[in-house]
């Protein structure tokens, strides 16, 4: 089995929330080494060479993202995005609660790597326990001298502020997150300017996912070449995959990118006995489904994109033949309609109307023309919104509508039953 233990090393075995345990296992050594023996540019270089790509969903190369920061004297910020709310994703939740020191060390490395002195940690409002754990983590690190002024006598200062959200999926979008962090409604901003140029408080800002930042620690420890050696040509390294749905052992599994989808399902214990696979949503609620014929597809950014879907946040929901795909489509469309911030009309109205039409299918009172209506409305929402939320409404619906049209047609009212 190709399951590896990099970020997940020690989780479930040792109490990694304890500073002493984490340090005994080599914790904060990389941060100390970076600060005392490396320049920020060296950290950036390592991130770049490793081929690490954003693990939050967009998959943007991390080193490249950092390099977009303009070289000026304005204050710059690192923001760690722990607003994990993509349906099916639960990896950051685990890292936050089970390996908070690793996450913090990653944040500190990232902050140093971009030459910033202030990092913000944005934690999803629902993760109250995670927030409390992380507050303790920051306090322990402050006492140990890893946060504050003149760290390790180098004269370098880093401050960390932990910020708790209050329940809004859209705040996982980086510019919405920045607005929320500024105390505003979590509405995405028009881009450009990108956060690298004008982010938090209008200053150059990098927003990175929890998992992305956490990977900086092993990358510095074992070298970028070690990380780049795993995975595929363009999807390098490892990734924590959240596998849930109709599998025997749902959970987070860390694997090298590019392993076949079939193997991932086997890692999660395989399907329940006597069931057949119907569909897999490979990259969170925003992604289109893949099916039986895609089982040998390598699980990496490019292969999934070629199959018309995406790797996203690495959340795989496996669905067997007990699944009602009309209800599943309604469920996800309702999610996006509920979470739309309401700024862009296509997303706000389109999501709502798709939900209304799908509700007719769920109730078994849809008209035949409603099937075309689903396609039409879905198509009209996509590609014309400020942020990717609007574009996320259609893919799952369309993929299951194309694959299982009979399930939708079965919910159409028979013509004889209609009043003349």
């Amino acid at each position: 089995m190709p399951v590896v233990k990099v970020l997940t090393e020690g989780i479930g075995e040792a109490n990694l929330r304890d500073m002493h345990v984490y340090r005994q296992r080599g914790g904060y050594k990389q941060f100390e080494r970076a600060l005392t023996a490396m320049k920020p540019a060296d950290v950036l270089d390592a991130a770049d060479k490793s081929g690490l790509r954003g693990r939050g969903g967009a998959g943007f190369p991390t080193g490249k993202k950092w390099s977009f920061l303009p070289s000026n004297d304005r204050p710059r910020y690192l923001v760690c995005n722990c607003d994990e709310a993509e349906p099916g994703t639960f990896k950051d939740h685990m890292l936050l609660e089970e390996a908070p020191h690793l996450v913090l060390e990653g944040i500190l490395l990232g902050t140093y790597g971009i030459g910033s002195h202030h990092a913000y940690m944005y934690i999803r409002g629902e993760f109250k326990r995670g927030y409390e754990i992380f507050m303790q983590t920051v306090e322990q690190a402050r006492q140990a001298g890893f946060i504050g002024k003149n760290l390790f006598g180098t004269g370098y200062d880093i401050e960390v502020t932990v910020h708790r959200g209050a329940g809004a999926y859209i705040c996982g979008e980086e510019t919405a997150l920045l607005n929320s962090l500024e105390g505003k409604r979590g509405e995405p901003r028009l881009k450009p300017p990108f956060p690298a140029v004008a982010g938090l408080y209008g200053m150059p800002t990098v927003v990175n996912n929890v998992e992305t930042l956490a990977y900086l620690v092993p990358i510095l420890e074992k070298g970028p070449e070690w990380f780049a050696a795993a995975g595929t040509e363009r999807s390098k390294g490892y990734k924590v995959i959240s596998i849930s749905g109709h599998v025997k052992k749902p959970g987070n599994y860390e694997v090298p990118l590019g392993i076949p989808v079939r193997e991932l399902i086997e890692i999660a214990g395989g399907l329940r006995d006597g069931r057949t696979l119907m569909a897999i949503q490979p990259g969170g609620g925003s992604s289109a489904c893949i099916f039986e014929e895609h089982l040998d597809l390598p699980y990496d950014y490019e292969s999934l994109a070629k199959a018309g879907t995406m790797l996203g946040s690495g959340a795989m929901v496996v669905m067997d033949d007990t699944t009602d795909f009309v209800k599943a489509a309604f469920n996800l469309v309702r999610f996006f309609a509920h979470e739309s911030c309401g700024q862009c009309t296509p997303c706000r109205e389109g999501g709502h109307w798709l939900e209304t039409v799908l509700h007719r299918f769920v109730d078994g009172r849809a008209l035949h023309s409603d099937i075309d209506m689903l396609r039409k409305v879905g198509h009209q929402i996509t590609g014309i919104n400020l942020c990717p939320l609007g574009d996320s409404i259609e893919p799952f619906l369309l993929s299951v509508l194309n694959r299982f049209p009979e399930q939708f047609e079965a919910r159409v009212v028979k013509e004889a039953a209609l009043p003349a």
Binding site: G167, E182, S244
Partner: protein, 254 residues
């Protein structure tokens, strides 16, 4: 017994140092908006109008701006809630693992639906989006504390424990008796299925000229407006709602 509103100045005074410490963490004070509301909600059980005004004053914003921001986030309660806020996950992974049955069981046991509070003020029930615990579906949060792998038996036990006051998670502070719901959208009269008294006889209560329970709101606006707006609105009204123009012309009291 003093009321919550009467106690508020003392609470505000007690939390002053803590508020200052929160504001000091950020490079701009407005960033403290969410944490400050969290703080007051933690003490009062919901984001009260007094708290919103106090935060606005502290951050040098208008109460409307704070209210607008607070209303964006689902974890800020705009009205008092029950002692235990039960938030059951309705995400995809939970749904395909039986969340519908779990939710139906909750509704039956509690006798309330989505976004409602029981009359005894103990339970508030909400069906929420993915809680990021899909490996342990079906899941829920009780006052933001996770409960995993739900079964009907567990539900029976936890409801009984909450009724008896022996449940492990601390109850929400309850400074006011909660109403039937805590969201503003749900408790508006129209969505509760009641039209406002004045609009009952109108064909199109949402058109200009729609009447409100407390008075003729749109009509007031028309009367108060001078100039072209008045004339044009009246013209349009004459076409769609002649009855209202009649009231307007004849000065019928409202």
């Amino acid at each position: 017994m003093t009321t919550r509103a009467e106690d508020f100045p003392a609470l505000r005074e007690r939390l002053r140092a803590q508020c200052d410490a929160i504001v000091a963490q950020y490079e701009q004070p407005r960033s403290a908006l969410l944490p400050l509301i969290h703080l007051f909600q933690q003490h009062e059980g919901y984001a009260s109008p007094e708290a919103i005004r106090a935060v606005a004053e502290r951050l040098n914003l208008t109460p409307a701006v704070v209210e607008s921001t607070v209303s964006f986030y689902t974890l800020f309660f705009r009205r008092p809630v029950g002692k235990y806020v039960l938030q059951v996950c309705r995400g995809l992974a939970c749904t395909i693992n039986g969340a519908e049955d779990i939710m139906a069981y909750f509704r039956e046991k509690l006798g309330i639906g989505h976004l409602q509070t029981t009359p005894d003020g103990i339970f508030s029930y909400e069906e929420v989006e993915c809680l990021a615990a899909c490996d342990r579906a079906t899941c829920m949060q009780v006052n933001l504390d996770f409960v995993y792998d739900l079964t009907p038996q567990m539900i029976d036990e936890l409801i009984a424990a909450m009724r008896a006051g022996t449940y492990a998670v601390a109850p929400m502070p309850q400074t006011e008796i909660p109403g039937p719901t805590w969201t503003v959208r749900q408790d508006s009269q129209v969505s509760m299925g009641e039209k406002s008294a004045g609009a009952q006889d109108q064909l199109n209560p949402n058109n200009a000229g729609g009447l409100d329970k407390d008075g003729v709101i749109m009509l007031d606006r028309i009367i108060l407006q001078e100039g072209r707006f008045k004339g044009r609105t009246k013209e349009r009204l004459a076409n769609v709602e002649p009855a209202i123009v009649n009231i307007l012309e004849n000065g019928a009291s409202h």
